[in-house]
């Protein structure tokens, strides 16, 4: 067999095993809307950890982080910081969200806003913004899949066809299984990722430089500036680092899917303990950065940094091992992508269409519409992935800039009794508008600050001021008893 046939066969075998596990997990249960989306709130510590880790450890961390280590250098370190800090934020927020979810039968983030602020237009707005900013995250996964198949086939399969194949497989998979399947494939994915990350993180520097220490010594000798901030960039310095880490840490659980995952837990305590172990999960990312930094010296001059990891793997290891890494990477894209599609489709059907356009829809009809939306969203993301040239990390940062605008409404909604609907609504509109403006006019970073963080500050300010100026809202327990 040719090298490309070997690596591609290995990838498809790994993905095939994953899909079989997924189908088996879904097949024995008859799924209603609640089963399909929140797994009937029965996830214990282990499944919960896998589900959340499955969402957080994506193609972004695999190809994107190493890609930035390669093309940007020092600034990529923000990725090591923000996930741990995000876990700390979740510790104080998610258990309360979960409690409300159980009490009032909430399934989505938009449900939470509808309940807390009693306004269906705010809930619908949250839903629209959530779906819009999930799309770059979804696009990121599909781009990643395209890169994997493209590199593994030794450029025999073009990126566009590679992405089209992946998306078709993904949509079929999501329609057949639902959230429980996704959690179980995470087991396979996590084990493979761990093996892949450690073996390439240690193996690649060893093969080329005789070890991690000598590799860094060589890089510090030839390109010392690459290892600190702003690295190979001019604008990503320390103020960018601080604002980006804050933006991402506060936003880590504002993603509609991460927020919604809280509802699948068995108890609030599960979520708290989950937050304690979550940081440890990001240690493997350091190994992936080692590989990215080695690539700076071994495969210089790539047109696209996101290709760096797989290119250096291809150059350092036999084809079957490239297949194993590619397969791990493919699952790392497919698992989160399934969750993203599932969330966006459910949000669209349940929190936008039903309340605003068709209040008479039954749960079954909503479930059907959600399934239709899976196809639509897959197609949109595929289209965007084909027509975009942004790096994986930039795509994720775009999404973060958007979803973090939910943070004031969530945290003040939980902890501040003076917060009001007009305050939150206006703050969020301003935040999203500023993000859109700064990013579309290419002003990110803005004066050295992450654009999303600038928007978040203004959002907070408007929310607080308007909340104090508008009449207080009745406590929730009175309106809902």
């Amino acid at each position: 067999m040719s090298p490309s046939a070997v690596s591609l066969t290995t990838i498809f075998a790994i993905v095939g095993i994953g899909v079989v596990i997924g189908f088996l997990a879904g097949v024995r249960r008859k799924m209603n809307l609640e089963q399909w989306t929140v797994g009937a709130r029965g996830f214990g510590m282990l499944l919960m950890f896998l589900l959340m880790a499955g969402e957080i450890y994506t193609t972004f961390s695999f190809l994107g982080a190493s890609g930035w280590a390669y093309s940007r250098g020092g600034p990529t370190l923000y990725i090591l910081a923000y996930l741990s800090l995000g876990a700390g934020v979740s510790f104080f927020i998610l258990p309360h969200i979960w409690e409300l979810g159980r009490k009032y039968k909430l399934q989505t983030q938009s449900d939470f806003f509808g309940l807390r602020y009693g306004n269906k237009y705010l809930a619908a707005f949250v839903c629209v913004v959530g779906v819009i900013f999930l799309i770059p995250y979804l696009q990121l996964q599909i781009t990643g899949l395209g890169i994997i198949v493209n590199v593994a086939s030794f450029n025999g399969i073009g990126r566009t066809s590679a992405m089209a194949i992946s998306v078709a497989l993904l949509a079929a998979f999501v329609l057949a299984s639902g959230v429980r399947a996704v959690a179980w494939i995470s087991v396979l994915k996590d084990v493979l990722m761990l093996v892949a990350a450690v073996s390439i993180g240690i193996g690649i520097p060893y093969l080329h430089y005789g070890g991690i220490g000598p590799m860094f010594a060589a890089l510090a000798q030839t390109r010392p500036a690459h290892l600190t901030m702003p690295g190979a960039t001019t604008s990503l310095g320390h103020s960018w680092y601080i604002t980006t880490v804050l933006l991402s840490a506060l936003g880590a659980y504002m993603w509609p899917h991460a927020f919604g995952a809280a509802f699948t837990a068995k108890s609030g305590d599960t979520l708290r303990r989950n937050a304690i172990v979550m940081p440890l999960y990001t240690i493997t990312l350091a190994f992936i950065l080692f590989a990215g930094f080695t690539a700076v010296m071994v495969v210089p001059g790539l047109p696209d940094g996101d290709l760096a990891l797989l290119t250096i793997v291809r150059q350092s290891f036999p084809a079957w091992f490239l297949g194993v890494i590619g397969g791990a990477g493919a699952l790392t894209a497919m698992v989160p992508a399934s969750i993203l599609i599932l969330t966006a489709a459910t949000l669209f059907a349940k929190n936008l269409c039903r309340p605003i356009f068709a209040p008479t829809m039954t749960d079954d009809q909503v479930a059907k519409l959600a399934r239709g939306m899976v196809l639509v969203l897959s197609a949109i993301s595929l289209y965007l992935a084909i027509h975009s040239s942004t790096t994986l990390v930039s795509l994720l940062l775009l999404g973060y800039a958007g979803v973090t605008q939910f943070f004031p409404g969530v945290v003040l909604g939980l902890y501040w009794k003076h917060v009001t609907m007009p305050g939150v609504f206006a703050g969020m509109i301003a935040g999203v508008a500023i993000v859109a403006y700064l990013i579309l006019t290419h002003q990110d970073p803005f004066m050295g600050w992450s654009a999303g963080f600038v928007a978040l500050c203004i959002n907070f300010l408007i929310t607080a001021i308007l909340s104090l100026l508008t009449p207080a809202m009745p406590p929730l327990d009175q309106t809902h008893n």
């Binding site: 910081a81 600190t228 009794k417």
Partner: protein, 73 residues
């Protein structure tokens, strides 16, 4: 809602990693001294990933003791 506020001690414990991994970046963003062959900034962050997990564990203990006290009353 609003729900019961977390204790100040738990909040402070959770804030430690923010200071160490985020706000203090200017102090540790350098290559030397290398730790086990790894640039100082990278080694610092890896070390704090573990420590931030410990901080959250401590915050968890604080909160758990507090709610137990309340239950006893």
């Amino acid at each position: 809602m609003p729900i019961k506020k977390p204790s100040l001690l738990a909040l402070l414990l959770a804030l430690i990693p923010f200071v160490a991994m985020c706000f203090s970046v200017a102090l540790w963003d350098r290559i030397d001294p290398m730790i086990l062959g790894i640039p100082f900034n990278l080694a610092w962050l890896v070390c704090w990933i573990v420590l931030s997990s410990l901080c959250l564990w401590a915050a968890y203990r604080v909160e758990a003791t507090r709610s137990k006290d309340r239950g006893a009353r």
